[in-house]
């Protein structure tokens, strides 16, 4: 074990931690789940400074962005895993109450890797003084609840621009930012220490208006971009994706042979490898090299159930989550890399955590599913059915998700002959639709 990090607590902070623990035990006793978030909320109510106190003395990494936060957080935990403890909010409770709960849950961990809701990045950065902040991407999501993209980018910019410059012996926070996303670039430009990674961007539709001058941003084929009216352009990259490889500016090249599927996960892995190598090592331990980080990712095959495979009536079902047009587009890319005969079950809800307005379904290129067997389900299956009708995608609508899954599982695989293996069923749900199905399997 490395140096002890257990924080000294003021009387107030100690009371807050006790209160959080009591609430958690009560919540478990009452069968209301493991209670971590409600415990964290209680702790913050007793001591608003609790997050800062609990983060003191640890090396903290934060991960934020519209898509891939939970997966990338899980990847970074694995990449840093040298046997020492890491505190993390692995269930995706990504607001301060969830962070407090994660840090209370592992008081002795010298490292914390926290997923952060886009809207809370400034607050959590201020409280936890992170060594590394990973910024993945910014695109439209839950527009009835979360700010539009440019307002978020502006808020990030204010928070990151205010990070203290490094003093002697104390390096500045390293912001690992996706250079291919103009909104992320705008947010990170003023940060004191940035490592720009060309991680690609599947969704460019929210980045056309220049955040600097209102001009128009043009993209070229390799992901480069620049504004037509001012000098805002893709920053010089220190690392980038090239096909399935990660290339560093010094010429080193690493194949991204990771356990998680899809190009977007290779992009997440590139961000994670750079972030892991930017973390200051724990006393007495070597720094994590890019190659070491990637090797550790080769055996990570699911994060919080995402990308996991379950058996249902003797058939494989792969569980996929996507919350917004950018996420669904990325998952369609993944389906294109997989068995084209697989039936697809699409499940959409519109609860608070999903956003109450499913109009975004019309920004998703469902036309790409035209030759597959498609079942529409979830609490907003009727919105989905109408969208599929206008995409001219044949589909069935089965309101109950489990019944919908069984309809696909028990149906024939498209074109699966008596000799060929039966292709797996792909289940794709948005946030609560995914969680609901998992809890029922």
């Amino acid at each position: 074990m490395s140096v002890p990090v257990r924080q000294r607590l003021s009387a107030r902070a100690a009371t807050a931690v006790l209160a959080a623990g009591t609430v958690n035990r009560l919540s478990r006793l009452l069968g209301r789940g493991n209670g971590t978030v409600i415990g964290g909320r209680t702790g913050l109510a007793v001591d608003p400074g609790l997050l800062a106190t609990l983060a003191t003395g640890r090396r903290v990494a934060l991960v934020s962005g519209t898509n891939g936060k939970t997966t990338t957080t899980g990847m970074l935990v694995r990449a840093l895993d040298d046997g020492s403890a890491v505190a993390t909010n692995r269930t995706g409770a990504n607001m301060p109450a969830g962070h407090v709960a994660a840090l209370i849950g592992d008081r002795d961990a010298a490292t914390a890797v926290l997923e952060v809701d886009e809207g809370y990045l400034g607050q959590v950065t201020g409280a936890t003084r992170p060594r590394v902040v990973v910024l993945l991407n910014l695109s439209r999501d839950q527009l009835d609840r979360i700010a539009e993209v440019r307002m978020l980018a502006e808020r990030w910019r204010t928070a990151l621009g205010g990070l203290p410059p490094g003093r002697e012996g104390d390096a500045p926070t390293v912001v690992v930012a996706n250079a291919d996303d103009p909104m992320v670039a705008w947010a990170a430009t003023d940060a004191p220490g940035v490592r720009w990674v060309g991680a690609g961007q599947v969704w460019q539709h929210d980045a056309v208006g220049c955040p600097a001058c209102g001009g128009r941003i043009g993209f070229d084929d390799d992901g480069g971009w620049r504004c037509d009216s001012c000098d805002f352009a893709r920053p010089e990259r220190s690392a980038w994706l090239e096909g399935h490889d990660l290339v560093l500016a010094d010429g080193r090249r690493y194949p991204l042979e990771i356990g998680l599927p899809g190009q977007f996960n290779r992009a997440n892995a590139a961000m994670v490898a750079v972030a892991a190598s930017a973390m200051p090592p724990l006393p007495g331990r070597p720094p994590v090299e890019v190659g070491t980080a990637l090797e550790r990712l080769s055996t990570l095959e699911e994060v919080a159930g995402r990308f996991s495979t379950v058996r249902r009536h003797g058939r494989d079902v792969r569980l996929l989550l996507a919350k917004n047009p950018a996420g669904w587009t990325a998952i369609f890319d993944l389906l294109d890399e997989s068995d084209h005969r697989s039936p697809v079950v699409l499940s959409v809800n519109a609860r608070v955590a999903d956003g109450h307005d499913p109009s975004w379904l019309w920004d998703v290129p469902f036309e790409r599913l035209a030759r597959r067997t498609v079942v529409a389900t979830g609490e907003r299956c009727r919105d989905l059915a109408v969208r599929l009708r206008y995409a001219e995608v044949d589909h069935r609508t089965v309101e109950d998700p489990l019944a919908a899954l069984d309809a696909a599982v028990d149906g024939p695989g498209d074109g699966a002959g008596p000799d060929g293996p039966v292709p797996p069923v792909e289940f794709l749900g948005n946030y609560t639709a995914f969680a609901t199905l998992r809890s029922r399997l």
Partner: protein
Amino acid sequence: MSPAPGRPALTVVVVYPDLLGTYGDGGNGLVLTRRAAWRGIDAALVNAPSDRPLPRGDVYCLGGGEDGPQVRASTSLIAEGTLARAVDDGAVLLAVCAGFQLVGRSFPDASDRSHPGLGLLDVTTRKGTGPRAVGEVVAAFDHRAPGGPGGVPLPRLTGFENHGGVTTLGPEAVPLASVVTGVGNGGGDGTEGAWSGRVVGTYLHGPVLARNVALADLLLTWALGGDVTLPLEPLDDTEEDALRTERLSADPGHGAAPTSGRRRRR
């Protein structure tokens, strides 16, 4: 008038999806195009980006967007003039949310500075003082609103609103509908949207034409006037009807208020 050879009978233009495509409203163009094509009408859908001249079309669709892009879209549309000329020549225009605001006389930006709109509808938008209007809307067509083919009033409107602006109607505009649940224009008169001639403005996303296919068919009828025998051939709208039934009976409180203190404009 029959179309020129090689030109489709109906051209639907989605205006500046790169600036006004934030809320899925591009779906309105798809709904119009498909509903025409399913009836055997040669229809083309054109997504017209903001860096190119706006093409001529029979129906134009404007959608919702963020503050900065809204100002940019309005400035560009005023400067290049195609949209106003097309409307003058009888083109149909559906304008939603930020699009509705910018076809009016003026609208505010994020810092509450007023910008001139295209003046195609006699409406004026100012920044609201209360919380942003977010949630499900049901609205009954105003008695002065356009009827369907044969003058039958259209069925109730359903949609989802998400805006911080308050829009008031001048004497030359007529309310599209009166709010049953939700906020709508927000000026205290209970109105939602506005129309004048062949220009229809509304705050409703969904997209509004997917949730209200009768309105879609009315716009098609206007656009095709003279080219086809009206009324339009009926379609099998089972799925659209199921969605309407569900939404019209949805809990009006569902999604009516943001759950956090975070507020946005427009």
